[in-house]
């Protein structure tokens, strides 16, 4: 065996180790959710659906699930709308202060969530908007709009800039061209963006925890359960959370990647 092949095998194993580290918590959470032990370890206990039965019977979990659904769907719609507006403005127009304009929308994810959470809590209480479900939605829309903007902007980059002008040239007003050309062209990115922003919102807990008051979302419930004791219910909830966000992320990527491949052919 020559040296180069040996090196390649070692590197491949190393990459595998890193991926195991990254995905281990996800896999273990899934395994533990069907495991009978209260303190899961090796060797595993017997198979059980006890934890699932428990969370299904818990009205608090149902309420949190409902809240999370409302928050993530509303956030996705709002953030994707804001992201689309900004992406289109950036694509179509040049104007003064465009740099600060773009910074204004792209900066929020670089600010630590705990700081955003504190600032949001103080500001929204001041405006009398805190403690509601839509307080979370407001905050999440600011946090996730940049993702929407980035995804939709990338899609618009692939568009022939003459396409919009061609529509005007054939008698459509700017609004009609938006409806018949820009939106259909961006559709896959819009779907991707809806999925991704929903996934981010669905998993976010710092801001939700600070501003939600009594309206807990699923991550906030998890946060409160794990404060203090080990309860395998968390694994059962976690499995659902993972399934939801992974489905959303994979859907987003399928929409986006498949379209990108298509537009290259």
């Amino acid at each position: 065996m020559n040296q180069n092949r040996l090196l390649n095998i070692i590197l491949a194993l190393y990459v595998l180790c890193i991926f195991v580290f990254i995905f281990a918590p996800i896999l273990f959470s899934l395994v533990f959710s069907f495991n009978s032990q209260r303190f899961p370890t090796i060797p595993l206990g017997h198979f059980t659906t006890e934890w699932y039965a428990k969370i299904f019977a818990d009205p608090d979990v149902w309420l949190a699930a409902r809240n999370s659904l409302i928050v993530s769907v509303s956030t996705a719609l709002l953030a994707t709308f804001l992201g689309f507006c900004t992406a289109y403005s950036d694509f179509r127009y040049n104007f003064r202060f465009k740099g600060p304009y773009l910074a204004l929308i792209l900066l929020p994810p670089t600010i630590p969530l705990i700081i955003m959470a504190l600032a949001m809590l103080a500001w929204l209480s001041r405006l009398g908007l805190s403690g509601q479900l839509w307080s979370i939605i407001l905050a999440h829309s600011v946090l996730t709009a940049p993702f929407a903007m980035a995804i939709i902007r990338l899609r618009l980059n692939q568009m022939d800039p003459d396409l919009e002008a061609a529509a005007w040239n054939l008698g459509s007003s700017e609004w009609q061209a938006m409806r018949h050309i820009i939106i259909p062209f961006s559709a896959p990115a819009i779907v991707s963006s809806l999925c991704l922003t929903a996934a981010v919102s669905f998993d976010e807990f710092s801001i939700s925890w600070f501003v939600s008051g009594l309206n807990k979302t699923v991550p906030v419930v998890i946060l409160e359960i794990v404060q203090g004791n080990i309860d395998p219910q968390v694994n059962a909830i976690g499995t659902f959370v993972f399934l939801t966000s992974m489905t959303l992320v994979i859907l987003a990527q399928v929409f986006f990647i498949s379209r990108q491949v298509k537009s290259h052919s």
Binding site: L163, A165, A166, S172, F185
Partner: protein, 338 residues
């Protein structure tokens, strides 16, 4: 610039890239606004008319077909925007696709069509609007040479049949000269010359046009004497006689004239002519049966001569041969300016 486009003519606008020819077209379509001046179509002032309120469909260099629609839906698009009913616009779209000989691809996604087929969809999409004027922005630049010739025939035939105005922007001389009734040569946002292809070829207005069209020998000197018919010029390459320009020049004033390369004769002995130059052959270039000779005079000026290949054989030349060039005074065309 000041330009009148006649109804029903095939007008080609030519120039090198960045000369403003595409901008001119975009201004006609209302996509760019003129900083000053007026644009009138059919006598009506168009400056403030929005692009979608104009009847000036454009065939784009990039074609700009809508990628998520079928060929038929692309053609229907303009009619849909104009509020034409569903059945009516489908009928008209299919009619035009048939006319462009691509009816069988009507339901195909445009991304799956070949370059030539896309080109025909783009034409159909504009023409289905039944415009009085069609704008074309280098529509054939993406096609290969054989297809270009075929599409040229399609375009000229369509223009004659429909009797509408075509404004055709191109950087290709062969396309412009082959199809257009009149050609506009543009340079740095200004019109350098407007005229029939023959005018531009035989009587370039100025040095820019003479050089742009190519295959012109350009000589500059000073006027020594002139009559009603002829003007005599002294240049570093010798003394020559040219046809007198419309504007008389004073003796001693600078003057430039052009002689088309295909109007220059070649001979081994000094011919008995008013205009002769003794040259050394530098190289030859064959394009089909036409050959271009590149020569240099004693003072280092480069001359070009175009001739039939069979005429060349008699001369029996090789690189370095010494030969005489000559041309008739009436074929020496005086250019505007110095």
């Amino acid at each position: 610039m000041d330009l009148d486009i006649h109804a029903g003519e095939f007008l080609a606008i030519m120039g090198s890239s960045g000369c403003g020819k595409t901008t001119t077209l975009r201004m006609l379509a209302g996509l760019d606004a003129p900083t000053s001046g007026e644009i009138r179509i059919g006598g009506e002032l168009m400056n403030d008319v929005k692009p979608h309120e104009r009847d000036t469909p454009l065939v784009w260099q990039s074609l700009a077909l809508f990628p998520f629609l079928s060929a038929r839906e692309n053609v229907e698009f303009g009619l849909k925007m104009r509020g034409v009913g569903k059945d009516e616009r489908k009928r008209r779209a299919l009619e035009w696709l048939d006319r462009m000989e691509i009816g069988e691809f009507a339901e195909r996604n445009v991304a799956t069509l070949s370059g030539g087929q896309k080109q025909r969809v783009a034409l159909a999409r504009s023409l289905v609007m039944e415009p009085k004027m069609l704008l074309l922005d280098e529509p054939l630049s993406a096609l290969d040479a054989n297809l270009v010739i075929r599409m040229q025939a399609v375009l000229t035939r369509l223009q004659k049949e429909l009797g509408i105005t075509f404004v055709y922007v191109t950087h290709s001389q062969s396309e412009a000269f082959a199809m257009a009734d009149r050609v506009v040569i543009m340079s740095q946002g200004e019109i350098a010359q407007v005229g029939s292809p023959k005018d531009i070829y035989r009587a370039p207005a100025n040095r820019f046009v003479a050089e742009f069209v190519g295959r012109n020998n350009i000589l500059a000197g000073r006027v020594t004497s002139q009559t009603d018919e002829y003007v005599c010029v002294s240049t570093p390459s010798g003394d020559f006689t040219a046809a007198a320009p419309a504007d008389p020049r004073a003796t001693g004033s600078p003057l430039t004239f052009a002689v088309s390369a295909d109007l220059v004769s070649v001979s081994a002995e000094k011919p008995d002519s008013a205009n002769t130059v003794h040259c050394t052959l530098i190289s030859e270039e064959f394009i089909g049966s036409v050959v271009t000779l590149f020569l240099e005079s004693v003072d280092g000026h480069e001359f070009k001569v175009q001739m039939q290949e069979r005429d060349l054989i008699e001369l029996d030349l090789c690189s370095g041969s010494q030969i005489w060039l000559s041309w008739l005074p009436e074929n020496a065309h005086v250019l505007e300016g110095e």
